[in-house]
Amino acid sequence: MWEYTELVQEHFLNPRNVGEIENPSGMGDVGSLACGDALKLTLKVDENERIVDAKFKTFGCASAIASSSALTEMVKGLHIDEAAKITNQDIADFLGGLPKEKMHCSVMGREALEAAIADYRGTVLPMAEGEIVCECFGVTDLEIIRAIKESNLRSVEEITNFTKAGGGCGKCEEKLRDILKATGGDAFEIKAIEKKSEKMTTLQKIKKIEEVLEREIKPGLRKDGGDIELIDVDGDFVKVSLRGACTSCSKSETTLKQYVEKKLRELVLDTLIVEDANS
């Protein structure tokens, strides 16, 4: 169960300004059924550019509905230039905060507001021109970069919480890391990137594995009258064959896993899996 503030619950159960303004001065329509939430915001703006009415229709969870309700309350009475300054954090603050996994609901509110203002002014939003990074939720690189900068995001998980990008199949995770790095939001993530992006060619990998076997592993085994030979490397799978005393040793499986694999993961690549070529 989500820990929603009293204000979120109150705005969810008694949403303000539900509906659609006929002949609106500006309309913002964001999200989709497939994504699980969507918001249609309509504004009425008077001749002094003041928002005199705002209504919403939302498909989504409690925090999406509460964020929409809050948004309409916040913009009513504001000059359009003032309204344009509202951030997603302002919406979350108005509600006394949102669970971190639900921050994207406030982002949806701000996106709808921007779209409605752009519609009123007759301008095109730059977001529409970005390149789609997350295909599951149709999130563009420009949206992601903006969220990283505005909300000071530090990890892929936070990007997902705010924009939903990466929350589906997860295939864009690497791209998100790259964007995070390029945007400078990666101060705390940089270590993880280095380890992951350490892409070796198969030849480099084999060379490194042989080196570690020679230097770190064989001397120990030879002391007990055993030996080890590298048979094949296929992706993460390292096929080896134990020799000498090792072949008759009841602990050989343990040796492979606890010793050889551990060392190789430590010194070569932490995804390696060692297999006995004879089994």
């Binding site: 989500w2 619950q9 969810f12 159960l13 949403p15 539900v18 509906g19 329509d29 059924l33 497939a34 699980g36 939430d37 969507a38 918001l39 249609k40 919403f56 229709k57 939302t58 498909f59 989504g60 969870c61 409690a62 999406a64 509905i65 996994e101 599951c136 939720f137 997902t160 939903k164 929350g167 589906g168 799978f237 896993k257 694999e261 899996i273 060692v274 297999e275 089994s279």
Partner: protein, 393 residues
């Protein structure tokens, strides 16, 4: 602030169940006076061991099994992991597994991580389901290979209640010399099971799904099946599962199995009638609502219904206001951003998957409760649809 049991209308029994009062009574002495260790030599402990043995018999009776085929574990998830990993270790040359796309995370996540867990490469075939959640036996048969180590298929699905033809599938696996495991966590106690006549080698069950406490489960292992323990340790459970027995809960589970056998008829008559009334009532009074899962090949207590163009979490929170407990396959309730993998595997459209609600009943539900839910839901759905941009009702 706390919500008490007597205030709620509890229709979330596939998540967990109320502990039967008779089960509590059976357990209490073993949480107070009789605290001996069942493995001890002295009579103070030994008498507890005899009660554990009786509980084992009661579980065996419900399943149509022998007591020695029953191993107590800590939960359904442990039983699932034990069965699959045991088969892979017993037959290390067999590197293929057959399962389905709609398994509980206990099996789904295990199969996703097999290579990492075992240190060997495995192939996993995940069988598709039709739009009504049922499996295709021909596809199943074709999926079996010479190096298939084990088949793991749930007896009944936790989200939709759809029952799979375990009898036939186990027999087919046996003919091919392949071990067969079934996660029967949702089936045990709700439909009759007689393992005596079946070719099932492993079966998992969980205590808290049938009115006994959380933290106790069972793995049935057919006599003569090669077995490698998951938890190494003492000689408890005849060396099959180390760790001092969760005595009180095991005794509670024994009592719960006895009760389940007695109430099996009620489950399939009274509970089924209540479920049908709820289901038919909702489908007929709420427009654009639909049943997820096969109409008849289904547990008697489960109804999974989609209300199109509204979102499940919002429905649940409205129900919560009336102390009605249910659950949803919506993305927003799970912490993930995508709706239930079960509904997606069935091809339920997004318009409906996000608005799915699972009602799962038990013998403790009453007709008044069903009437109350039927009275409240239509207006909840109508009010949410009124604010949905996709609803043109």
């Amino acid at each position: 602030m706390n919500t008490k049991a007597d205030q709620v209308i509890y229709m979330d029994n596939n998540a967990t169940t109320r502990i039967a009062p008779e089960v509590i009574d059976a357990m209490m002495p073993y949480l107070t006076e009789y605290y001996g260790n069942p493995s001890s030599m002295h009579n103070f402990g030994g008498q507890v061991g005899r009660e554990v043995a009786k509980a084992r018999e009661k579980v065996a009776n419900l399943l149509g099994a022998e007591p020695e085929e029953i191993t107590f574990t800590s939960c359904g998830t442990e039983s699932d992991s034990t069965a699959v990993l045991s088969a892979l270790q017993a037959f290390p040359k067999k590197r293929h597994i057959v399962t389905t796309r709609v398994e509980h995370p206990a099996i789904k996540t295990l199969c996703d991580n097999l290579d990492k867990l075992t240190g060997h490469r495995h192939r996993v075939t995940r069988l598709k389901v039709a739009s009504d959640g049922t499996l295709d036996l021909d596809e199943y048969q074709a999926a079996l290979e010479d190096d298939t180590a084990i088949v793991s298929i749930m007896w009944a699905n936790n989200e939709t209640g759809v029952i799979f033809p375990i009898e036939e599938m186990a027999a087919i696996a046996k003919k091919r010399g392949i071990l067969f495991h079934t996660d029967a966590v949702q089936a045990v106690g709700k439909i009759p099971i007689n393992l005596n006549n079946l070719d099932v080698d492993f079966l998992s069950l969980s205590g808290h799904k049938l009115h006994s406490p959380k933290g106790v489960g069972v793995l049935y292992v057919r006599r003569g099946t090669a077995f490698v323990p998951f938890l190494a340790g003492g000689h408890q459970e005849r060396g099959r599962r180390g760790g001092t027995e969760n005595v009180a809960s095991i005794i509670g589970l024994g009592k719960a199995c006895e009760l389940a056998a007695e109430k099996m008829k009620e489950e399939n008559s009274k509970v089924r009638a209540l479920r049908d009334k709820l289901e038919n009532g909702l489908l007929s009074t709420v427009p654009s609502s639909m049943l997820n899962g096969h109409k008849t090949d289904r547990l008697p207590n489960t109804a999974n219904i989609s209300f199109e163009f509204v979102e499940g979490e919002a429905i649940l929170l409205h129900l919560n206001r009336y102390n009605i407990c249910a659950s949803s396959g919506s993305a927003c309730t799970s912490g993930s951003l995508e709706p239930s993998h079960v509904l997606r595997a069935m091809g339920v459209p997004f318009t409906a998957a996000h608005g799915s609600i699972r009602f799962s009943l038990s013998v403790y539900n009453t007709e008044d409760e069903v009437d109350f839910v039927l009275e409240k839901i239509p207006s909840i759905i109508a009010s949410l649809r009124e604010m949905s941009p996709f609803w043109n009702g």
